[in-house]
Symmetry: C2
Subunit: 437 residues, 2 copies
């Protein structure tokens, strides 16, 4: 029996179809706010949920379950008039035919909005891609959580000190917010949680290395905040290596360009991201592994394709020659900007170019410790930490997610605990070089 | 490099080693309470957490995340004096040598306590085992959750009504507490959640069938409660088939012995369990797929092996000729009984046989609906539901799990919602007979 496979989305006369690929911070804004009396909106994502990526590291370090940082897309956008969500992987865009190809069929568009975000950038280093763990999605964060716990269970079983140390050594590559927050959370596990769970293991064998290619942490933040983060992490026992570019990793030893060698079974790669570009664009549409857009977020050569969020790059913007930071703020603002444009377009008003308003950035290092850079002042310590929590809490999607995350945070704070130390799906290193059994 | 692989547990002179296999309700009681000034206690489980199985169905129906019903074993038993937990699969018991074999090495025991619980019983029906979904573990419950949501996503894509219906039809086999509670929760998803999530799907195509081999639901409970559950489920739209024994399932059609055929892509098998017996016992040690024990829970032929919980069966007990119910209560009571015996043994006191005290049983059908059988009275409706919640809440391990579960329940109750509609790890039917793509 041949089954009918189609995206099953009706074509409505006089209603232009806007297809949005990606339900991250950028795509979700557009999907939520686009006027559906004027457009049919089709949102496509490879997951049925929106991920609040800034808190992935807490899922990885047994602090939160996925349900705090993920929210069902169908629950976010409840009014379905002229709105369709499809769970699909987009393989290819045929720009001439105005058509996308997915694993559930093809679909024509009138307007296409690329909001595919970014993927981990291994900079072509195949060994590292093969042997290290990224942390860009919830399944990856859960894998990392399982691995940390499995390593400790394995370390119990060996009397070979070298092997024990290797299992208990964590190398985080990349000193941006992700690397800093993950290092801090791991260091807190070392201090408060793991010694109680594994009294038979000498916790001094556990080492957390943070490797940063440039001369300072948190490149996107102020020098002052970077220094504070450095100090906080050092106090927590994190071993920080600046100006330290990773050259190779064979699953057992990390090799750096300045000839350092660190034995570790666990390398977490947080050293960079690149645009998640779907096939179908010409080479000249792409620069710095992102899609080239103009001041109006339009993909330059085409009249009906836009790119927003991490995947978009405007090389004409002198204030941000490297592009806007690949973080939530520019994505949200670009989503909102584009929504306005689509509405203006209808009214034939004049459109102004997109201007990014830097609202500040922040990173938490641990209990009572964070740094915040705001446009007119900087904060550190307890107050910064409270603000960090508040901002992240209100940024979560939905009342329930906020309540559950806050409840978890309060209990953890009081108990000095990371409660979700569960190996639900054991991480399977197909790569048997690391296998203990 | 040959790695040292061992369970790495020290042998201490004058300290008898008690090995407990399984950290379910029974094993956990023993592990927590055995006097460790007199015994070295080794607890082995294939997971690093204890599972509160009675609420698995809420994980499957998007009500709770695993962290509400699972608790890290290392967090439960914090005092490690003469206590060791090992994450391992036990493959074989060599009774003559007093030794167990596991994936992480072998271990000698002085006393062995089998608390391995039960596994899904497919009664030798290979097709059903292959094509249906069990719900005995957290990963299985998560698979079921993913599958329900994936089915709805797939049903959107087809215009073949027969295929659509098949994807939206759920057949639950087994009318015990698990089947009843799962059917009720699915029916509530049908009523309150899925029509909002999938307005393009005609919800009337969604059917929930509950198939029960005997002439009534909830065989272990009173006739009165069974009738109430039947009535409640019917009101929720569940199609109940009594005296209906499933014969076969080919992945598309369920065949029953009374020649019924139900087309369904989703068969959930809750029709029975059997003891999880480890290899190494003689045939005469096993009866009704459980391990034969005497009135003192000792495995009959051996002086130093005990079995408790679901896996144990005493065929001499006239009050329970089919054995004690394979539920939490007997397991907990047997665990506690055995702990006492071990302590009495040391004091050379006389041991009394185990007596099971039936504290009652209960099942919830849905919002404000439950049935409770207590020794001297029965309850139904709202009050029964409140008691059901209270009993399950206090039975969860740990303050945090209770708070998180209660918070979820309150929010869901107020919002008429099941919040965790997340396909985190898509369920992969390797069996391509059902594949839509």
């Amino acid at each position: 029996m041949k089954k009918v496979v189609t995206m099953n989305i009706p074509t409505v006369k006089d209603l232009k179809r806007v297809v949005i690929i990606g339900a991250g911070f950028a795509g979700l804004q557009v999907a939520k706010k686009l006027r559906r009396d004027k457009f049919q909106v089709v949102l496509i994502d490879k997951n049925n949920y929106h991920t609040f990526q800034p808190l992935l590291y807490q899922v990885a370090t047994a602090g939160l379950e996925p349900d705090s940082i993920a929210h069902s897309i169908r629950n976010i956008i409840k009014d379905r008039k002229n709105f369709f969500f499809r769970l699909a992987n987009v393989y290819y865009i045929n720009i001439n035919q105005q058509k996308i190809y997915t694993n559930i069929g093809e679909l024509n568009y009138d307007y296409l909005i690329i909001a595919t975000g970014s993927v981990t950038n291994f900079f072509g280093k195949k060994n590292i891609e093969y042997f290290s763990l990224p942390m860009k999605s919830i399944p990856e964060a859960l894998d990392l959580r399982s691995l940390i716990l499995q390593d400790f269970e394995s370390a119990l079983l060996t009397n070979d000190i070298k092997e024990k140390k290797r299992l208990m050594t964590f190398v985080i590559v990349g000193g941006g917010p992700t690397g800093v927050e993950l290092a801090g959370a791991l260091a807190e596990m070392k201090r408060y949680v793991l010694p109680n769970d594994y009294p038979d293991l000498d916790i001094k064998y556990m080492n957390i290395h943070l490797l940063q290619a440039s001369s300072r942490l948190l490149d996107g933040m102020s020098e002052q905040s970077a220094k504070e983060a450095y100090k906080n992490l050092e106090e927590l026992g994190v071993i920080i290596w600046l100006n330290c570019l990773v050259q190779d990793y064979d699953g057992k030893i990390v090799f750096t360009e300045n000839n350092k060698k660190i034995e570790s079974a666990n390398v977490i790669w947080a050293a960079g991201v690149k645009g998640a570009i779907i096939k179908g664009f010409a080479n000249e549409d792409i620069k710095r592994q992102r899609i080239l857009v103009d001041d109006y977020l339009k993909v330059i050569k085409y009249d009906n394709i836009f790119a927003i969020g991490d995947v978009a790059y405007n090389d004409q913007n002198k204030s941000y020659p490297n592009g806007y930071p690949m973080t939530a703020q520019p994505a949200i603002q670009q989503g909102n900007y584009l929504v306005k444009n689509f509405n203006y377009l209808l009214d034939k008003n004049v459109i102004k170019p997109f201007v990014y308003l830097n609202l500040g950035s922040m990173a938490t290092i641990g209990r009572n410790k964070a740094v915040c850079d705001f446009p007119f002042f900087k904060l550190k310590g307890f107050l910064a930490w409270i603000i960090w929590m508040f901002v992240h809490l209100i940024s979560l999607v939905g009342f329930r997610n906020r309540v559950i995350a806050l409840t978890n945070w309060i209990i953890q704070y009081l108990q000095y605990n990371k409660s979700v130390r569960l190996i639900i799906r054991p991480f399977n290193r197909k790569k048997n070089h690391l296998k203990i059994n």
